[in-house]
């Protein structure tokens, strides 16, 4: 995949989502829905970011940590996944799964790009804090980059 290929990034997100939605449905009993125009917009935005980064650092291939950091940023911002359910009517745990579906999708994508088994990498407390931070704080792409480089090393 070239640095500047929005279509390839779109297909990659669609590929991640196929598996994510199946597994989410079997784990939670709710089927997530993708906004494919948001996937396309994420692809375009990712291309701008990767091109800028690769040009500045004179890289042919952006590193995985940067690729994952930008995708997490755009998934958080453009929120391409939704669950059609009244979250307030769901049991509490399923409601939390539904509420945080985009944060989970972002981490799912990052785990694949970084080739990191999140169950091994994080304690429940740490993953709890990551999900909270992604939902309610404003971590920058650079924060994620440092975090992902650390995880990749």
């Amino acid at each position: 995949m070239s640095v500047g290929d929005a279509a390839a990034i779109y297909q990659e997100l669609d590929g991640f989502f196929d598996h994510f939605s199946d597994e989410f449905a079997s784990a939670v009993g709710l089927k997530p829905i993708a906004d494919h125009s948001a996937f396309w917009n994420i692809g375009q935005s990712q291309v701008y970011d990767l091109n800028r980064y690769a040009h500045f650092h004179e890289l042919q291939i952006p590193d995985r940590a940067r690729r994952a950091a930008y995708l997490v940023k755009w998934i958080q911002r453009l929120r391409p996944v939704r669950v059609e359910a009244d979250i307030t009517a769901l049991p509490e745990e399923r409601g939390k799964f539904a509420l945080l579906v985009n944060e989970q999708f972002a981490l799912y994508v990052a785990s694949g790009i970084l080739r990191i088994d999140l169950e091994q990498a994080f304690s429940a407390k740490m993953l709890n804090m990551i999900l909270y931070t992604m939902r309610y704080r404003s971590p920058s792409e650079d924060s994620f980059l440092l975090f992902f480089v650390y995880l990749s090393e």
């Binding site: 745990e93 939390k96 785990s111």
Partner: protein, 67 residues
Amino acid sequence: MANARDTAKRIEALSSTPALQKVSRWRIPNSDGEYKAAESIEFAKANSTGFFRAVRSALQLITAKKD
């Protein structure tokens, strides 16, 4: 005005110095090699069960009743 012109000339001279132009480029070590999306997707798929198990454990900390 003379000082301002001198400063502008100095900046222009510095910015066209090849050695200093290079300072603005920070080389990031990257040994990741060619990126293959299909392999990343397969990795995530293979670890899906553990992924959702980990998320469930994390969410249980949110939903757990406080003492």
